[in-house]
């Protein structure tokens, strides 16, 4: 579909993350895999080798490992803003799973849809937003705006 037909959003962060301190936006990762199926081979290797290191490097993420009979192994991640996403790791190698998890840790829970502008600002204008009357000489003689300190310290010149 075209960009008008699909969802889109503006660039924003959850709770102004990064302005004060940076908080990793994932709170929980659950690895659902099967002990015997062929498709969970990568998941099993990841759990044997890399999951403990990952959990130690990210003490703010709780990692749950659930072996259950399933056809497709999944990663269920929960973000701080409440979004829960399931990613199938069907027939992925251990390295691909590490890459995927690394990508997820740098995401926030906002939807992965088209971002309308790659920029966002809360102070769009420093010198004042232009309007048709800026820089237009008025019919009456008007003095420019003096700063507060000059007005206060209006000592005889």
């Amino acid at each position: 579909m075209t960009s008008r037909g699909t969802a889109s959003r503006f660039l924003k962060s959850v709770l102004q993350n990064g302005v004060g301190r940076y908080v990793c936006q994932i709170k929980r990762i659950s690895l659902v895999f099967s002990k015997d199926a062929q498709t969970s081979l990568g998941a099993r290797e990841f759990i044997e080798d890399k999951v403990v290191d990952f959990a130690k490097q990210n003490p703010g993420i709780v990692v749950y490992v659930t072996p259950q009979r399933c056809r497709i192994p999944k990663i269920i991640e929960e973000y701080l803003n409440g979004t829960v996403k399931e990613e199938p790791i069907n027939s992925k190698t251990s390295e691909e799973i590490t890459q995927l998890i690394k990508k997820l840790t740098s995401q926030s829970g906002l939807e992965v849809i088209r971002i309308r502008k790659p920029i966002h600002t809360d102070s769009p204008s420093i010198q004042g937003q232009w309007h048709p009357f800026t820089n237009r000489p008025p019919s009456l003689r008007v003095q420019g705006i003096q700063s507060e300190s000059k007005a206060q310290g209006a000592a005889p010149k």
Binding site: V14, L15, Q16, V19, G20, R21, V23, C24, K27, R28, S30, P59, G60, I61, V62, Y64, T66, L80, N81, G82, D122, S123, S125, I126, Q127, G128, H131, P132, F133, R136, P138, L140, V142, Q143, G144, I145, Q146, E148, A151, Q152, A154
Partner: protein, 331 residues
């Protein structure tokens, strides 16, 4: 179902297949298209439509939940060191303790076992609330020295009010960890829990760290907000006159500076406020009165230093402090 073997291979008279799971257990299955399936599914859909979505369940009642691990991760995620006992106490609300005791009594547990060994977060919550309000007020007064006490109070009430605190708490996973009687957690309870977490941080580490926590999560909510959205001023012109008399400046005189489309459906008037024949502020409006009020608000914003193009809040300050401390300690 890979173990066991099929008894009936090939065409069976009733379309029924038998499978031995072990010697004494026989499973039957019909693999054809089931005629009852459609009506059953339609009935279930109708029932779902009538009843609506199922009530939300707290995260602790869903699979994969380890309370101790979650509480530890909460502390690490925010880059803060909490003492575990204090943090766990901070999440326990008095309503939870009461409801748990009632449940235990109903289940017929002994009288001694009914009383839970949990302390509630009342004291921590009060400490946290008091500290937050005083810290926020100090911050505002330091950053905007010209702001009068009503303005400072308005900003602090907005930041420490239910709406903002609950928004912050929900996005920091405090709601998952709160122990309360009802779910979804009511806003007041969530606010008290958040302040109890602040109180726990205050007791576990220094007040400076708690101050930084409040700065990083509550002060950031002021970004993009205008002063008069937080502080409802009914008579900006009167307030402006007061401010100017306090500073010994002459009272403001409103004059029309620009006009456009006066006799149309969308008139535009610009009214400028002059003190001592010097322009203080200019504001637009649809009617002349509205333009005058807007000009008064613009003048107040300039006096209080809360304009849109002011210098943004400095979030790097503790790094300079630690750098200074390192410099001092190395010398």
């Amino acid at each position: 179902m890979a173990s066991g073997f099929l008894v009936n291979r090939g065409l069976s008279p009733l379309g029924v297949h038998f499978q031995h799971v072990c010697r004494n257990v026989l499973l039957t299955q019909t693999r054809e298209k089931k005629r009852w399936m459609k009506s059953y599914m339609l009935l279930m859909e109708r029932k779902k439509k009538l009843e609506g979505p199922p009530p939300p369940k707290p995260r602790s009642h869903q699979p994969n939940w380890d309370y101790h691990a979650e509480v530890q991760a909460f502390g690490c995620r925010l880059h803060e060191t909490f003492s575990m006992d204090l943090l766990k106490t901070a999440f326990v609300n008095p309503c939870y303790i009461q409801s748990e005791e009632v449940n235990r009594r109903e289940l017929g547990v002994d009288r001694e076992a009914v009383a839970l060994n949990l302390k509630d977060n009342q004291k921590l919550s009060e400490q946290g609330a008091e500290f937050s309000q005083s810290y926020l007020a100090d911050c505002c007064r330091g950053a905007y020295p010209n702001l009068p006490p009503e303005g400072v109070n308005a900003i602090v009430q907005y930041l420490a009010g239910t709406e903002i605190v609950c928004h912050v708490a929900k996005n920091l996973a405090v709601e998952d960890l709160t122990l309360s009687a009802e779910f979804p957690v009511p806003n007041e309870v969530l606010q008290k829990t958040f302040f109890a977490v602040v109180g726990a941080l205050l007791e576990s580490s220094e007040p400076q760290k708690a101050g930084l926590f409040i700065r990083d999560f509550l002060m950031t909510q002021l970004i993009g907000k205008d002063l008069f959205e937080l502080w409802a001023v009914i008579n900006p012109m009167g307030l402006l006159v007061e401010e100017l008399t306090k500073r010994n400046l002459s009272p403001p005189e409103p004059r029309i500076t620009r006009q456009a489309g006066v006799s149309t459906v969308l008139p535009l008037h610009f009214v400028g406020l002059y003190s001592d024949k010097k322009l203080m502020a200019e504001g637009p409006g649809e009617t002349i009165l509205a333009a005058e009020e807007e000009a008064a608000r613009v003048a107040l914003r300039r006096i209080y230093g809360y304009t849109e193009n002011r210098r943004p809040w400095d979030y790097t300050r503790p790094r300079e402090d630690t750098a200074a401390a390192q410099a001092i300690s190395s010398n």
